[in-house]
Amino acid sequence: MPSGSTPRAPAGPAASASERELLSQALALHLPDVPTDVPGGSASALLPILHHVQDALGFVPPPLVPEIAAALSLSRAEVHGVLTYYHHFRSAPAGRHVVQICQAEACRANGAEALRPPAGARLACAPGQTRADGGVTLEAVYCLGLCATGPVAMVDDKLRVRVSAAMLDDWAVRFESDKP
């Protein structure tokens, strides 16, 4: 393809009514907090807004990116940049169950690295991925602050300490039993 003639990416699907409603809620909540006398001050509502949306939906739908940008007088690139810079934010839904196993030093000292292969095998999910059936997302995280009782994991917003291969088995069984 000749350079320079690449067409602009077509606009994605439009945000749904409920997504728009969620965004206006987030704006109403967080825009009043921004300093109005600072140039670009409204951008400081960006992270709280992204959190608000993700807390509700589990991810930030891409169609909301241009809408957030417009509301905060930012470019789409700026919002996209922030959304993709921070590990916490997702642009697509995670699995029904999210398993995050800490891989930082204190957990490594207690065998966290050795948990990776059995975690992948027992949850049938590649590390850093969401399983094809949407059942499980398996991720590494770096420090959950319970470093005296590692290995530590966050499983569906619940912290777990002294994680063992046997616990992985329990989770795998539980996840299979509550399939929709």
Binding site: G41, L46, L47, C102, E105, V141, C143, C147, R160
Partner: protein, 533 residues
């Protein structure tokens, strides 16, 4: 008959070990047996290997049991846990004989040998109860500060010798003095609660266990420098700390301690909580400010210092949680009382965090001057695995591994710097003899590659190259190892000298210390000209 008082922590470390289930079991069983109890969900005492710790009040003090699980509750009640005789004369023979019975909490050697100053209330009180806070010395520091000239408040912090507990150890009073002297219509107090270092959890425990101390410390800072707003930037990995802080701020504001007028009489001080996004580098102060302002967490070049141009360009005090939380006691008891603790130019206490492969992991607040050997063995009890300690990393992922010959060096900032070690935020991660230091060195580089903000080349590219070179060094035949080692040391030199912030500038420390002290893990001979023996 007065109702028996029972404490079960709400600290995340206790919750992860089943504290909520224990509390539910206790409440359910007590009500089934017609017993009414006062259950307080306190912070953690810091004996984390024993969590969930259940405490019951007796006239002699609180008696602890741990680690308690929900199905232990029936047995404990059967043995008289909630009996009036326990509250009056202590546990019965049967209760004292329970395998989980630990004795009087404050007489447990792990606790008794500590010097609790900043953490004095953590685990003792209900973290959100304002009357509990006031009854245990809360607001005394702020009230004293309100009766002083702002300059005198700064003077107290200078005289106390308090230095930044986040890791950089910059004198807090000097930072405050700079902000106080900066002429500006608006100033801010920012609390760095982005505690990302593996092996550290003192910020989290304080925010969950005694949030009003942090709020009071920030209010004193505001008063001292003339700031009217404050922000606590909490990492997204700490949902419990965030929830506790939000509730504490709401209650302290509603009760008039902060908000429109400090303690109902002083200047206004509005406090907000901001949640991070899982970026390690946002623990760097300028990246943190960028993040609050709504941008990627990219490190700013300094100068200007945040004290001159910080949040939104306003002069800003930015301090770590423990730094700010140490201030109320300094004002309450006087700078000299705080300064009396410590060693050399490191004054006061540090909440050390004993973590990793250790039998008795937890939080130990002690004056500077304590040694690593005392922390690892007298408190920590050696490794959890029972194997010999091979390596210990002090000061987080950017701190070097401290070799055994330095385990008896009294820990203070200068003494540690003199032997090439860092105190950092006081995190201690113990590894047993199954650890592979070449693997940990490669991980240090990989973590830097993952978390680098990308602004400066030595960090952004050096970290990826670093991980590759460590791998090549390990895989190389003996005859070719020399060239790879030279390359790695050269690369580390570039990162140390050429990086904009501590991320790239200190990642080489654990790598080089691994290479110097554990060459055999890289397949290198033990006795070599380079490095230390």
């Amino acid at each position: 008959m007065s109702r028996p008082m029972v404490w079960i922590p709400r600290d995340a470390a206790a919750l992860a070990a089943g504290a909520d289930e224990v509390a539910e079991a206790l409440t359910a069983l007590a009500s089934r047996r017609g017993l009414s109890i006062d259950l307080v969900r306190n912070g953690s005492r810091g004996l984390l290997w024993l969590e969930p710790v259940l405490e019951v009040s007796t006239l002699a003090g609180r008696v602890a049991f741990g680690p308690v699980q929900a199905d232990d509750i029936a047995d404990l009640i059967d043995r008289g846990l909630l009996d009036e005789s326990t509250a009056v004369s202590g546990p019965s023979e049967a209760l004292a004989a329970h395998p989980l019975h630990l004795g009087l909490t404050e007489q447990l050697p792990y606790f008794a040998k500590q010097q609790r100053v900043t953490f004095a209330r953590v685990g003792l009180t209900d973290p959100l109860a304002l009357d509990d806070y006031a009854a245990h010395g809360g607001w005394v520091g702020l009230d004293k500060a309100l009766a002083m000239a702002p300059g005198a408040v700064v003077g107290q912090v200078v005289e106390s010798g308090l230095r930044g507990r986040g890791g950089a150890a910059f004198p807090a009073g000097i930072k405050w003095k700079t902000v106080a002297a900066a002429p500006a219509p608006r100033k801010a107090i920012v609390c760095n609660a982005d505690e990302g270092d593996s092996g550290t959890f003192s910020d989290r425990m304080l925010m969950e266990g005694d949030p009003y101390t942090l709020i009071e410390g920030m209010a004193i800072a505001a008063l001292a420098v003339g700031a009217t707003c404050g922000v606590i930037y909490v990492r997204s990995e700490y949902p419990h700390a965030e929830a506790t802080l939000r509730e504490a701020i709401a209650r302290a504001t509603a009760a008039g301690h902060i908000g429109a007028a400090l303690r109902g009489q002083g200047p206004a001080f509005r406090l907000d909580v901001r949640r991070g996004g899982g970026s390690y580098v946002c623990g760097e102060e300028t990246a943190l400010l960028e993040s609050i302002e709504g941008r990627r967490g990219i490190v700013r070049a300094k100068p200007p210092l945040p004290a001159i141009e910080g949040l939104f360009g306003w002069p800003t005090v930015i301090n770590n949680v423990i730094t700010l939380a140490s201030v109320p006691r300094i004002l309450a008891d006087g700078a000299a009382a705080y300064h009396a603790f410590g060693a050399g130019r490191s004054r006061g206490t540090l909440p050390f965090q004993i973590a990793g492969n250790v039998k008795q992991g937890g939080l130990v607040e002690a004056p500077f001057g304590v040694t690593l050997r005392e922390l690892m063995f007298d408190f920590g009890g050696g490794t959890r695995s029972g194997r010999p300690v091979k390596a210990v990393q002090v000061g987080g992922p950017l701190g070097p591994y401290v070799p055994e010959k330095h385990w008896d060096v009294p820990i203070d900032y200068e003494a540690y710097a003199a032997v090439g070690a860092t105190v950092g935020h006081g995190g201690i991660v113990v590894h047993d003899d199954t650890a592979n230091l070449a693997g940990l060195a490669r991980y240090a580089m990989e973590f830097c590659a993952l978390e680098s903000c990308g602004k400066c080349t030595p960090c952004r590219i050096g970290s990826t190259r670093g991980a590759e070179v460590v791998e090549r060094l390990v895989a190389a035949p003996v005859s070719l190892k020399g060239a790879q080692e030279e390359l790695l040391r050269d690369l580390c030199d570039t990162m140390v000298s050429g990086s904009l912030c501590a991320m790239g500038g200190m990642t080489p420390f654990p790598v080089l210390s691994a290479l110097d002290h554990y060459p055999e893990d890289f397949g290198l001979p033990r006795s070599r000209a380079t490095g230390e023996p």
